[in-house]
């Protein structure tokens, strides 16, 4: 383009429909869309999509053949009219009007779904780049052609101006999918999507239609997918797991907290459940099979095996080491459970003990032996009442031999109680 140092902001709505004029001043047609190559922070336009006079379908023209965007037209370089060719869409390329304008996208900054009213572009160094996306009322007024009148009226009556509601393109994750692979067309990197809190991601996924849901879910990494799945409503959980391949689904289940995974599996149709469990790796599978043995509504169905236990003949220092060594995730770090050589539960210690007592202190002297414990068959109602009375962070679950089977955390008890409503 001719003026390399000129920086100019434009709205996409101002470009759409502009006449395409060749070097000799003849009107060839009009601009109907722009194709952008994704990948950079502010991606640039690579192709124009034009509707030529007398042609039924639209054609493509390389951006490099554009002379200037001055005036309300698109003027081309000499002989540009010979370079029209059919439009192709490759991987990582996106059409602005077809796939972005008026469509829903994820605003990864505000962690919600928004609809694009307009797109803010910048001409710099001969390139046309996307810089912002407009979600606000100004965008709507601009598309309707009313922006000048509205500004005049609101200013005259209320000394008010509708604020811009624009977001930098780097926070926008389009929901368009690649034609071949059906994956999300990614803006820059996937990290932005993962930075959203799983609860917010769950809200976003719940708001999308089922095709987009599956695409977004598929593009999440295992850990985010697992955390998000835990937050989504049960009906949707099943639908998402069923939409994933068995391999992928079992990987996600392995990443989830075992009690959540068990709940999800319990709600699936029997044959699907068996297939998924069989696809999982051995330690996870055994864990889950044990949890699944317990009936819904019992303590066993909401307990988890992610806790720390240590032998009674050890010291505080050993306990701290044990804590440090633990690599698998823990449901709670508030308590440490003490067992004897035969795995019977004999006492409990709190984090406070670990922090305040000397390393040499023996656990047997410090531990609390008055334990409130429940059996796996216990009703969740009773469990909730125990939490209400004693206000513990977690309660141990012991089998008929008084051996530690698992723990129930306050969070799990509350969740199961609220499900009853």
């Amino acid at each position: 383009m001719q003026e390399p140092d000129l920086k100019m902001f434009l709205f996409f709505s101002e470009l759409l429909g502009r006449s395409i004029i060749d070097y000799n001043g003849k009107t060839l047609g009009k601009l109907v869309d722009l194709k952008v190559k994704l990948g950079e922070l502010f991606p640039n336009v690579v192709t124009l999509r034009v509707k030529l006079r007398g042609e039924k379908s639209s054609l493509a023209l390389d951006w490099s053949l554009v002379q200037s965007l001055n005036g309300n037209i698109v003027s081309l370089k000499p002989d540009a009219e010979k370079e029209f060719k059919p439009l192709e869409l490759s991987e990582g390329e996106i059409l602005l009007k077809e796939e972005l304008l008026d469509k829903q996208v994820v605003d990864t900054y505000g962690a919600k779904i928004e609809r694009i009213n307009d797109i803010h572009l910048l001409i710099t160094d001969g390139e046309l780049r996307i810089v912002h996306v407009d979600f606000g009322m100004r965008g709507i007024f601009r598309r309707l052609g009313w922006i000048k009148i509205v500004d005049f009226l609101t200013n005259w009556f209320f000394a008010y101006r509708f604020p811009e509601k624009m977001i930098s393109w780097k926070y926008v994750q389009p929901l368009a999918s690649d034609p071949q692979k059906k994956n999300l067309k990614l803006n820059v990197t996937l990290r932005k999507l993962h930075e959203i809190h799983p609860s917010d991601l769950a809200d976003i996924i719940e708001e999308l239609d089922h095709e987009k849901r599956a695409t977004v879910f598929k593009s999440l990494d295992l850990q985010t997918a697992a955390e998000t799945l835990e937050e989504v409503n049960p009906k949707l959980q099943i639908s998402l797991i069923e939409s994933a391949t068995e391999e992928h689904a079992s990987d996600i289940l392995e990443e989830m907290a075992p009690d959540e995974a068990a709940d999800l599996l319990a709600d699936l149709p029997e044959d699907k459940k068996i297939k998924l469990i069989q696809t999982m790796e051995k330690p996870h599978r055994e864990n889950l099979e044990e949890l699944l043995k317990f009936k819904e509504g019992t303590a066993g169905s909401i307990m988890t095996k992610d806790f720390i236990s240590i032998q009674v003949d050890k010291s505080i220092g050993d306990a701290i080491d044990e804590f440090r060594k633990t690599t698998h995730p823990l449901e709670t770090i508030a308590y440490l459970y003490i067992t004897d050589k035969e795995s019977h539960l004999v006492g409990v210690l709190t984090l406070r003990h670990l922090l305040l007592c000397v390393n040499e202190a023996p656990l047997s002297k410090l531990m609390n032996t008055h334990l409130v414990k429940v059996k796996p068959e216990e009703d969740v109602e009773k469990v909730a009442e125990i939490f209400k009375k004693y206000k513990f962070m977690a309660i141990p679950v012991v089998d008929k031999d008084d051996c530690l089977s698992g723990i129930i955390t306050l969070r799990d008890a509350v969740e199961s109680k609220y499900k009853e409503f």
């Binding site: 008026d102 709507i140 598309r143 239609d209 095709e211």
Partner: protein, 414 residues
């Protein structure tokens, strides 16, 4: 073989019951205050003369609702969402504006229904309407709509009274048959208006949006689509039968006696064969139920549809400041809808009737959009409108548009 046969039959029935609902619920809400008023007037002022129109109207209803349901199942999106994505914000804005105004007319009709039904008990509208408006507003805000929906639906059994009354009134069945088989139609502004009113009240524009949204919310999968078609057909059948009997009963009682429907009390007399002197009470109950049912759904549905199309926050789970346009629109519809009914001297029954005529005039516009969308192969895949069915759909739209234009012409030059 025997056991497997039964199992597959049961499975079909269960799937049907699981997806049933959107079509049947929509059709029951369809029989709202405007509906009862329009059907009553059609029977009372034209006798059996317009009964024939219910058959082509039902065919059109089935076709149009099936398309809405199909779009909902295949795309998983609401109608205003699709319109926004395919046609852009400008067209969406003007279409939604027309829809809001039309629905506003319908909301006025619902509150008019509340007022006129309770007037039968001598409760002045200045008492009944504000209380009704407050109740409706409360239902939504307290989130108890879903549980109350069942009660409203149950009360829709009221329409059976029209069927019973219709038989008790001993209509001249030969005359009925002739009127349906060999209809005579005069092109006056009056009968044209009534015809469009019948179309508009049976196939209300807002219903297409509501049905599609309900189908999407039920998350009906594409493979269960046949069951949702059945649900739509069943719903349409119910609407038509109820409408038919209201017209029939009013024709057999009111038209015969030369009673014109000016107030709800007049319309109530149609139930005299069944209920004797209690006909007014029975009618009042039915009208009140229909009005409140629709008044709870319509403003809410309108707010949802507008926010979906314009990209604004929606949902009753959000605070007012989080979704100002949603709550604002919803409250305005109820407030002004009820407010207009409170204006002194407002003729309630004509108001209900005119709102349905407006429905009928706006309907072809919405239908054109639906047809363009449903012919889009990229959107609908293999479920795109095909062949004869497509031809029928376009013919329906053209006829309906023709009627609306004819009415407007006769009103301007009449």
């Amino acid at each position: 073989m025997g056991r497997r046969f039964f199992k597959s039959r049961w499975k079909t029935l269960l799937i049907f019951l699981a997806v049933v609902g959107p079509g049947i619920i929509t059709s029951n809400v369809d029989n709202d205050a405007g509906g009862i008023a329009t059907y009553s007037m059609a029977g009372a002022h034209f006798g059996y003369g317009l009964l024939w129109s219910l058959i082509p109207i039902m065919v059109a209803l089935v076709i149009i609702q099936e398309m809405s349901a199909r779009m909902g199942v295949v795309t998983g999106k609401g109608l205003s969402d699709l319109i926004r994505e395919r046609f852009g914000v400008r067209i969406t804005f003007y279409l939604l504006l027309a829809l809001v105004l039309t629905n506003f007319g319908n909301v006025i009709a619902e509150f008019a229904g509340v007022a006129s039904s309770l007037e039968i008990f001598y409760i002045p509208k200045y008492v009944s309407v504000p209380i009704g408006a407050f109740l409706v507003w409360l239902l939504v805000v307290k989130g108890t709509y879903r549980s109350v929906e069942k009660i409203f639906l149950f009360a829709c059994l009221f329409y059976i009274t029209y069927i019973i009354s219709g038989f008790l009134a001993k209509p001249d069945w030969d005359l009925v048959k002739n009127s349906v088989m060999a209809p005579k139609f005069e092109f006056s502004a009056g009968s044209l208006g009534m015809l469009i009113g019948l179309v508009g009240t049976t196939i209300a524009p807002w219903m297409q949006f509501y049905l599609q949204a309900a189908v999407v919310e039920k998350n009906i999968k594409v493979k269960d689509y046949k069951h949702s078609s059945l649900d739509v057909i069943l719903g349409s059948l119910i609407v038509t039968i109820v409408a038919g009997f209201i017209i029939l009963t009013c024709a057999a009682t009111l038209f015969k006696a030369g009673i014109r429907v000016e107030t709800a009390k007049d319309a109530a007399l149609a139930l005299e064969p069944l209920a004797g002197k209690y006909c007014s009470i029975l009618f009042a109950f039915g009208l009140l139920n229909a009005s409140l049912f629709a008044a709870s759904i319509l403003p809410l549905s309108t707010a949802f549809v507008v926010c979906e199309g314009m990209g604004w926050e929606d949902g009753v789970n959000k605070k007012f400041s989080e979704a100002p346009q949603f709550y604002g629109l919803y409250s305005l519809l109820i407030f002004f809808g009820a407010g207009i009914v409170l204006l002194p001297g407002i003729p309630l029954i004509p108001v209900m009737y005119i709102s349905q005529v407006i429905n009928g005039i706006v309907l072809p516009v919405i239908l054109i959009f639906i047809l363009i969308l449903i012919n889009n192969k990229k959107l609908m895949g293999e479920y795109v409108n095909k062949g004869v069915y497509n031809f029928l759909s376009w013919v329906t739209v053209i006829i309906l548009s023709g009627l609306s234009i004819a009415l407007l012409v006769s009103l301007l030059w009449g």
